[in-house]
C-alpha cells in the first residue's frame, strides 16, 4: 500500500522568500508522486508529478519538487513566494487503479 505524510500542518513564509512544503512517502514498487493545491472553496488543482527521470520536477505557477529516494521525500519548493500562493497543499501517491492516497495537507500562509 502507498502512503504519504506531510509533517507540517502549516507553513508560514514572507512574500519573496523561498518556500518548502514537505512530503515523505512509503510506497512499494516505483514511486509515483503528485502535488495538488486547493484554494478556498475550490477543488484540487494539479501542480506537478514525479513518474521517472529527473529528480527535479517543474510544475505550474513556478513550483518545483525534488524527489529524493534516499530520504523518501518529495518536497515542494518555490524560489520566491507570492501572497497568492496561500492555499492548502496536498501530496499524493496512486495505488493500483490509480486511486490517490493523500497526505493530511499543509496550509501555506504567505504574508506580505
Amino acid at each position: 500500500a502507498q502512503s504519504v505524510a506531510q509533517p507540517e500542518d502549516q507553513v508560514n513564509v514572507a512574500e519573496g522568500n523561498p518556500l518548502t512544503v514537505k512530503c515523505t512517502y512509503s510506497v512499494s514498487g516505483n514511486p509515483y508522486l503528485f502535488w495538488y493545491v486547493q484554494y478556498p472553496n475550490r477543488g484540487l488543482q494539479f501542480l506537478l508529478k514525479y513518474i521517472t527521470g529527473d529528480n527535479l520536477v517543474k510544475g505550474s505557477y513556478g513550483f518545483e519538487a525534488e524527489f529524493n529516494k534516499s530520504q523518501t521525500s518529495f518536497h515542494l519548493k518555490k524560489p520566491s513566494a507570492l501572497v497568492s500562493d496561500s492555499a492548502l497543499y496536498f501530496c499524493a501517491a496512486p495505488n493500483a487503479g490509480n486511486m490517490l492516497t493523500f497526505g493530511g495537507g499543509t496550509r501555506l500562509m504567505v504574508k506580505p
Partner: protein, 115 residues
C-alpha cells in the same frame, strides 16, 4: 476546454433524507473517481469507474453509499438515509485512464451539510 463539473455546489439536507450528487467528467476521460474531504478524515477515496468495467467500490464507507455512471460519462453518487457524519465536501475527478501515474483532474466539489 471544459473541466470537471459537479452539481450542486452546495447541498443542505436533513438527517435521514437521500441525496444525489452529480459529476460530469472531462470529455473523453474514461476514468472517473469520487473522493470525500472531511475535517476529521482528510481526503479519502470512495469509488472509481473505468470505462464499462465494474466499479471499484472498495472505499465506500457503508452500504448507504452507491454510485453509477451512465453511458460512460456522467456519474451520480447517492447517499441514502444521510447521517451527520456524511457532512463533507465530495470531490469528483477524471483521467484518461486508470494507469498509475495518470493525472486526475478535479471538479470544484459539492459541499454537503446534513442537519
Amino acid at each position: 476546454g471544459a473541466g470537471v463539473s459537479q452539481s450542486p455546489s452546495n447541498k443542505v439536507t436533513e438527517k435521514g433524507k437521500d441525496v444525489e450528487l452529480r459529476c460530469d467528467p472531462i470529455s473523453g476521460h474514461t476514468a472517473l473517481y469520487w473522493y470525500r474531504q472531511s475535517l476529521g478524515q482528510g481526503l479519502e477515496f470512495l469509488i472509481y469507474f473505468q470505462g464499462n468495467s465494474a466499479p471499484d467500490k472498495s472505499g465506500l464507507p457503508s452500504d448507504r453509499f452507491s454510485a453509477e455512471r451512465t453511458g460512460g460519462s456522467v456519474s451520480t453518487l447517492t447517499i441514502q438515509r444521510t447521517q451527520q457524519e456524511d457532512s463533507a465536501v465530495y470531490l469528483c475527478a477524471s483521467s484518461t485512464q486508470t494507469a498509475r501515474g495518470e493525472t486526475q483532474y478535479f471538479g470544484p466539489g459539492t459541499r454537503l451539510l446534513v442537519l
